[in-house]
Symmetry: C2
Subunit: 408 residues, 2 copies
């Protein structure tokens, strides 16, 4: 794009203080893949024994790096591992050349970081369909390997940004059996963000000990209600990847530990919400909570229909408490609904009940709620016990401006 985008009004005040994770080191570089005057490659080195779990886009046109990562998950982790991510080019829909680029990069990283090529995971994010100039990335690998050090997680978060207007991080420190365990994660994503897939690019590191299959089960489970419960624009990336790396450096085994799962869940939710807060053009952060559905899955179908409706999202942008569009979205979702049992609230304001506007509702109450920058929209279907919560943002002129001009 010509000019840098303004930072989202929903951005956190600052990048958080994240705990250092023993067993992982980071480096970043400027390879000039597409962007100039900024870093666009990040390398993470992981110590031998690190367990890596991952979830990825379910797109049928997913990128070469995604296919390569999926094939490598769950392999022998007795040696070290590495993650290399570039921004500016997604190496997606690049035919056999895309696979060649992945092989060239992973081979170069393996040789220089001294890990097996089967333990080098890559991701690429940016424009689709243009050949990745992988030689520019490979030219930086010596420098990256030499620069690896702990505590560079914010720089790593910056290097993987595309249309993101702020770097995204979240972390936690907890005690398990009297010993400290740390979690630190970074994420990128602001457009082409929708669920029924894994997520954007997200890397979460912990010094916990966890066997790979248990780590994978935990990650997949928590993903359903965090990254798979957000949407910016209903469009699903071909590159979305989330890796969770447990270095084991703390010596604390967290398999089956509820406190660790809860802490990890909060980190994942925090990062997922930051992606929504940086949704292209977003001015409102919107939580959509659906209850009373016939199942959790049906509740999520309704919630996503509301979250993805352009008419609901433009109404929110216009600060219009237009609950009629919420009714419309429920009606079209395909999941069970009875018009005359619906209850709809905006924040604490009861807007509609029993199939019609609530007798106590006054427009100024709804308008006041819509003027907030964080809005909760609750729908009870009155049918059963199914519930789901998803998060989205509004649809504004800035989304059009970004996406009518940007080749992504």
């Amino acid at each position: 794009m010509a000019a840098p985008l303004p930072v989202s009004p929903l951005a956190p005040e600052a990048f958080p203080e994240l705990p250092d994770i023993a067993g992982v080191r980071f480096a970043t570089a400027s390879a000039g893949v597409k962007y100039t005057d900024r870093t666009d490659v990040m390398l993470a080195e992981l110590q031998p024994g690190t367990a890596i779990a991952g979830v990825f886009t379910r797109s049928k046109t997913r990128s070469a790096p995604v296919l390569d990562c999926q094939a490598k998950l769950g392999g022998d982790n007795s040696q070290g591992a590495a993650i290399l991510v570039n921004s500016g080019n997604s190496n997606a829909f690049t035919g056999h050349y895309g696979q060649t680029s992945v092989e060239e990069i992973t081979t170069a990283v393996a040789a220089r970081v001294n890990v097996p090529v089967e333990r080098v995971f890559t991701a690429s994010t940016g424009v689709i369909g243009e050949p990745l100039p992988h030689e520019r990335i490979i030219a930086q690998i010596d420098k990256l390997a030499a620069a690896l050090e702990p505590g560079q997680v914010e720089a790593a978060a910056q290097a993987i940004m595309t249309t993101d207007t702020f770097a995204k991080g979240a972390g936690a420190t907890l005690m398990v059996g009297g010993k400290e365990v740390r979690i630190a994660g970074i994420a990128k994503g602001s457009g082409m963000v929708a669920p029924d897939m894994a997520t954007m690019l997200v890397y979460i590191f912990t010094d916990a000990v966890c066997e790979q299959s248990a780590l994978q089960t935990l990650l997949s489970s928590l993903n359903d209600t965090s990254f798979n419960a957000i949407t910016v624009d209903s469009d699903t990336s071909t590159s979305d990847s989330l890796l969770l790396c447990a270095t084991g450096a703390s010596g604390v085994d967290v398999a089956g530990n509820a406190d660790f799962a809860a802490a990890l869940n909060l980190v994942m939710l925090d990062l997922a919400h930051q992606v929504v807060r940086d949704g292209e053009g977003a001015t409102k952060f919107v939580e959509i909570a659906v209850t009373g559905a016939v199942s959790d899955q049906e509740a999520k179908t309704h919630a996503m229909a509301i979250a993805n409706s352009p008419l609901v999202k433009t109404a929110i942008a216009g600060e219009d408490p237009n609950w009629g569009r919420v009714v419309m979205a429920i009606g079209k979702s395909g999941a069970e609904a009875d018009r005359d049992l619906l209850t709809i609230s905006f924040g604490e304001v009861l807007v509609a009940e029993k199939g019609w506007v609530s007798s106590n509702y006054r427009e100024e109450l709804g308008v006041a709620e819509m003027k907030k920058s964080e809005i909760t929209l609750s729908v009870d279907l009155g049918l059963g016990n199914g519930a789901a919560t998803v998060w989205t943002c509004d649809l504004t002129h800035q989304y059009i401006t970004i996406n009518a001009d940007y080749r992504s």
Copy 2:
């Protein structure tokens, strides 16, 4: 809205000359339901024996008038019938009061036009969730009944507009067995337009003779590839209704007649395309043709995923030949696809084949195609013989402007 919207740049030059249909008379009035300084109610009177077929929104929150029409289809048509449509208020999500409004209006029309209440069909279009001031409509019925006359079809099309920027009509005259048969149709719709439902508001009249169940079968079949194959914004109205009325005045029975079906199909396609051409904020009319899918249904799933993608639609608005976003939409659609078998063309320009950009493709060719106001986007999946064509428009700033300000 504050100011009238500019007429869509994709609008036809003028409302077409439509043939008069013997057996139907129209009248319009200004009831002030919501709009001022324009007509907002239209009444059509149909002669005894008129067969009426209909298709309606499949929304689970559909409006009271839709439910009432659905219950009345297929009834005894030995007496006359009437259709009353208002714009400005959709009488949707108005609880039991909504049903009361329908009853009050249909009873008043039946009494004044002298038809059974079971043969009075209504539709309401406009804002959702506000009580319909039906007394304002009823106050106009004497005047409407007195004003009924043939040939007022353009006035009828104008009275049912909401955010439409032009009145929509299409017609045909054909010879069946040496005798003339006429078709004339009108439509409204520009936002909250998406398929997997019936359509916007559409009324088609013919002087053909056709038994009701045959008429219904024909209508439902043609609807799948016309009104159910267009989308403006993926949002499904709670009020969409299409009625096809065969007065029989020509004395020509068209049951099973292929020429009549073909002529009716063209009228329906023409009206459906006009709805897309008046899509809120539209500057491009886009045909999306998918071939080589495993089935026609899967082809339509892909075509609709492309047509509904905000990123594809904003790229088209920006005249960006961004075929990467087309690949993305195919990947997320849920239907079968093999990335490395895809062929994509913009107009006559082959853009991508075998999973990558075509070796002959040059960006200036794609850009030249995207600068046109009518764009055809073709995708061959290389998997089977399934095919589908759908139509949509681009997503522009004007869509946001209209929908962030307009309570619909």
